[in-house]
């Protein structure tokens, strides 16, 4: 009952405030002063994500990013930020339960997750109905934010990424074999890739969806080899990508290899071993960047964990920082946090640099860097695509 009473109060309050502003004319500033003095000093963000199950490793990646961000925020400010990370096992049923739990919990000011867009989008209607912000930190499904105005996503859409990959593939060769995950993410990216290839003249000689749970890809790679592919593009996460490049060697498939940016991680190098050499990818986040903020982040992360951050660590870190910034700029309510998240142009990010959300509550075209694996390390190379 309490949330609904509070909601009514909040609605009344904002209506009164708007009337007051209208009455006073233009000189009343933004609602900043409104509830400023009684803003909570302890703020919790809910996280719905996989801590067990097939995707558990990505949940662990997140946790590291969250922890570092919390450490930094709590060291500097007078607001104490916390994370309530609930395990969804990557399953939609769990995710919508957790979403409902967060909506009912007054201590939660905003939520992040789930890992996959499919699972997140089951939870989205719950968040939207409950008027609680859901920030998708790894969700690039093109329709992700369509559910409503409380749903945000920080990754670029696959429309942007798919086109870039297709152009990159064209720069590497003329006959492409493409492997894509049989998930909403993989299929959507592949659709964009295929459309773009039709425009830029890249011939696709072989393509196949691959399952996240599969481990044996030799029959597919043999097909790619027999089709005469001179470039192999992998729209897959690092687990699958590393198996693909290793088994490509086993079947004697000689070609240029490219993969989506999320493969940019030490785990990929470790899993793929020597087979990783030569693989190209485009990423918005490059730890060797000269940018001072990126440098400071990479140093802090490496000091805390003993290895360099990957993209998923960094998305998680950015997510907490963006929500904290939005809370700071708000009047201390859920509604206020949503509004400042939607309007702020000062959201901090390691991946993109300072940004703001657009009308669709997503991020406009950021700059990509191209990197390649050389002798077991990521090296920045000349961009394949201008």
């Amino acid at each position: 009952m309490r949330p609904s009473i509070r909601k009514t109060l909040a609605a009344t309050a904002s209506a009164v405030a708007m009337l007051a502003m209208a009455a006073c004319g233009q000189d009343a500033g933004p609602a900043e002063g409104g509830g400023g003095e009684d803003k909570a000093t302890s703020v919790t963000f809910g996280v719905v994500g996989p801590k067990t199950g097939d995707q558990a490793q990505y949940g662990e990646d997140w946790q590291k990013g969250f922890d570092l961000a919390l450490e930094e925020l709590n060291a500097e400010g007078d607001v104490e930020y916390k994370i309530d990370f609930q395990d969804s096992q990557g399953q939609p049923a769990q995710a919508s339960n957790i979403a409902q739990k967060f909506v009912s919990d007054d201590n939660i000011y905003a939520a992040m997750g789930d890992f996959s867009s499919a699972t997140s989008m089951v939870a989205s209607p719950v968040f939207q109905r409950g008027e609680l912000v859901q920030l998708g930190i790894t969700n690039s499904h093109p329709e992700f934010t369509d559910t409503g105005d409380y749903i945000f996503a920080s990754p670029v859409t696959q429309a942007v990424e798919g086109q870039l990959q297709a152009d990159g593939a064209k720069a590497l060769g003329d006959k492409a074999a493409v492997f894509y995950l049989n998930t909403d993410w993989g299929i959507t990216t592949w659709d964009v890739f295929e459309d773009r290839a039709a425009e830029n003249g890249l011939e696709i000689v072989y393509s196949s969806a691959v399952e996240e749970a599969s481990t044996d890809f030799k029959p597919l790679l043999l097909n790619a080899k027999n089709a005469g592919a001179d470039v192999v593009y992998m729209l897959t996460y690092y687990k699958t990508t590393s198996l693909l490049v290793q088994q490509a060697g086993d079947v004697g498939l000689e070609a240029e290899f490219g993969a989506v940016g999320s493969n940019y991680s030490l785990e990929f190098l470790e899993l793929a071993g020597d087979a990783a050499d030569g693989v190209y990818m485009a990423t918005t986040f490059f730890p060797a960047s000269e940018d001072p903020e990126v440098k400071a982040y990479v140093e802090a992360f490496t000091e805390k964990y003993g290895f360099q951050p990957n993209l998923f660590n960094t998305y998680a870190y950015d997510g907490v920082k963006a929500l904290a910034k939005a809370y700071e700029e708000s009047d201390g309510t859920r509604q206020g946090l949503r509004d400042s998240l939607a309007t702020s142009s000062e959201l901090p990010s390691i991946v993109y640099g300072t940004y703001g959300f657009n009308e669709e509550r997503r991020i406009d075209n950021p700059t990509f860097r191209w990197i390649q694996v050389k002798d077991g390390e990521f090296v920045e190379v000349d961009p394949l695509v201008e």
Binding site: Q57, D87, P92, A118, V122, V126, A213, V251
Partner: protein, 626 residues
């Protein structure tokens, strides 16, 4: 040719898993679902030895086999031995519990991330038909052949082997002839488990990447391979594994990786239909896992009319707007959705004595039907739900038809394969189901022009449907259909002799069950607003069985109670975060051990009769529970 070779290499892995499974089935007549978990344990131990500690591969193999043999002993003690001579379904469920426990602990101990496996094998390889053959490929092939021959010799020529064979033929007789059946079974279990561990190390070395969560998928493929070859046949296990590997390689090469599951389970179904005992299996395994042993022993609890009224009133509480917070109502909806799925199981198991391990497939069918009908065809909600139920009924009946003549473990495996195949089709049929992308933005439930979007309205919808279906189930069980079903359940031969058309009534049971499951799925889809094949994983089929069995299959109330305990209970465990799954498995194990006939059944009565008639004559009891 290169594809055949690639398939053989992959099929090796299946063969190794299938060997262990077949051995256990031979001795204990139990499908050990934990075999895949033992595989994962073996893989992780292998990783620890070779990659972490830098020891050679053979040391890793020995340690992994020792660890898994020990675990095999534990599994036998906790999950199989207590159920010897009782309904095999109990042992199957408790191995499923062990699977959950092992997978969860493995993940807790090692952490969930993928890791590379470095074997330290010499880096020599040669080319064959354009494929690179690595040392590990040879090692695996030799191992499975040597193991198969060795095991066959062991079983045929040694005292232990004779004891194993005697035990598997007739446990009671063997015991009376002085065979220490318990020790034989324990030893055989340890042997089979260590084979799982061995497979884990070798396959991990083959794929070079491992994670503690990969046991489940490989375990299912192993079951498919073992069935393909013929349950209980060692040669069959190896042949089945290799054939499955080659067929998969060709299918995947033709239709892509996403078709893999369709191929695996499609092949399995075809074999079961055409040659039910598998390629090389003997027609020896006769014991029905369910019929006549498990459910007749318990009696239904009668609930007076005021009790029913009270339950309905309690159940209706969340329908009062604003009384309970949204989270509680949401959990209530989850409980009812699962209860509906379990109710469909109740018809099959409690009434007709059939077991389905693929019920999630039927639920998925209903969900997809509703999504397509309301979103694409623009049909109103209520007719769409009804049609979804009918589709579930038709498909279940059609698919179940060839399974009638199966006996032993095979009907259960056929349903497992059917369920998995349905989800696999959903993952592949891109133009209709959206493939792996699923279907988003499914319209919300709308009844008589009112969109049910508030929490209490959404709860009200599923609650009313649950009441209606429970009422129908009650009426059916009172009617002659229910009586015939119970006759088939208690003694199929006698029922047939008494003039009951058993296949027709069995298929009616499957149809009714499919109808309920289809409706459950339809509500599921409308409530989620988004479905994809991963919404209905094979694990969900197990959960449905577990919920139904725990509640007790004799009454609809059992399904609701089971769902409240398992689904509601799971929510409580959320507080213990990553240890939650572990606790879930443990509770399951304990419940099966101490209350196998379910929570909602009489059991004093059962105990009295059990004492009088002895433990193995349960089937002679009259299950007068109407």
């Amino acid at each position: 040719m290169d594809t055949v070779l690639a398939g053989l290499i992959n099929g090796n892995a299946y063969a190794l898993i299938a060997l262990g499974l077949s051995l256990v089935i031979g001795v204990a007549n139990v499908i050990n679902f934990a075999q895949g978990s033992l595989f994962a344990v073996g893989a992780m131990v292998g990783w620890l030895m070779t990659t972490s500690l830098g020891l050679p591969l053979w040391v890793a193999v020995i340690v992994a086999m020792a660890v898994t043999a020990l675990l095999g002993w534990v599994i036998n003690e906790l999950a199989v031995k207590p159920f010897a001579g009782k309904a095999p379904i109990a042992a199957v469920l408790s191995t499923i519990a062990m699977m959950i426990i092992l997978d969860a602990s493995n993940e807790l101990i090692f952490g969930p991330e993928l890791r590379p496996m470095r074997t330290g094998l010499p880096d020599v390889s040669f080319q064959l038909f354009g494929l690179t053959i690595n040392p590990i490929d040879i090692v695996i092939l030799c191992t499975s052949v040597v193991l198969m021959v060795g095991l066959a010799a062991l079983l045929r020529f040694t005292r232990f082997g004779r004891a194993v064979r005697a035990t598997s033929q007739d446990r009671e007789a063997a015991a009376q002839m002085g065979v220490p059946v318990n020790r034989v079974q324990a030893l055989a279990f340890m042997l089979a488990s260590s084979l799982g561990g061995l497979a884990g190390v070798l396959v991990a070395a083959y794929f070079t990447t491992i994670s503690p969560t990969q046991g489940f998928t490989i375990g299912l493929a192993g079951i498919a391979a073992a069935t393909l070859g013929g349950l209980g046949s060692l040669l069959g296990a190896v042949v089945g594994g290799l054939i499955l590997g080659v067929i998969e390689a060709f299918g995947v090469s033709l239709w892509g990786d996403a078709a893999r599951q369709i191929i695996t389970f499609g092949v399995l179904l075809l074999v079961l239909w055409i040659r039910p005992q598998g390629l090389l299996g003997a027609k020896a395994i006769k014991k029905e896992p369910l019929t006549g042993t498990f459910f007749a022993a318990a009696r239904k609890i009668r609930v007076p009319w005021w009790g029913v009224l009270l339950l309905v009133l309690i159940g209706a509480v969340p329908m009062v707007p604003g009384l309970l917070d949204g989270y509680t109502v949401q959990v209530g909806i989850q409980i009812i959705l699962f209860a509906l799925a379990a109710l469909s199981m109740t018809i099959l198991g409690g009434q007709a004595g059939q077991l389905s391990l693929g019920q999630a497939g039927t639920v998925a069918l209903g969900a997809y039907a509703l999504a397509l009908l309301t979103k694409n065809a623009g049909l109103p909600f209520l007719p769409a739900v009804l049609i979804a139920g009918l589709i579930g009924a038709v498909i279940m009946t059609v698919v179940a038809a060839p399974s009638w003549r199966l006996s032993g473990h095979y009907p259960a495996i056929a349903t497992l394969a059917t369920g998995a195949a349905i989800t696999a089709v959903a993952a592949n049929w891109n133009s209709v189901t959206g493939g792996g992308a699923g279907i988003a933005l499914i319209p919300q439930a709308e009844v008589f022009g009112i969109v049910l979007s508030s929490n209490s309205a959404r709860y009200g919808l599923v609650f009313v449907v649950l009441l209606i279906l429970c009422g129908l189930v009650f009426l059916w069980s009172k009617s002659h259909v229910g009586m015939y079903w119970r006759a088939i359940r208690d003694d199929e031969v006698a029922a047939r002799a008494a003039g009951i058309a058993t296949p027709q009534y069995k298929s009616l049971a499957f149809g009714v069950s499919g109808f309920i499951a289809g409706i459950a799925g339809a509500l599921w889809a409308a409530d989620y607003g988004f479905i994809d094949p991963k919404t209905f994983p094979p694990m969900m089929s197990f959960q449905i069985v577990i919920v139904a069995v725990l509640g007790g299959m004799l009454s609809p109330i059992g399904a609701i109670l089971g769902s409240a305990v398992m689904v509601g209970g799971l929510e409580l465990f959320r507080f213990s975060a990553s240890a939650r799954l572990l606790a879930y498995g443990l509770i399951l194990l304990l419940l099966i051990r101490f209350r196998p006939q379910g929570l909602w059944t009489h059991f004093d009565w059962f105990d009295r009769l059990k004492q009088r008639f002895g433990r193995n004559k349960d089937s002679e009891l009259e299950g007068s529970d109407a």
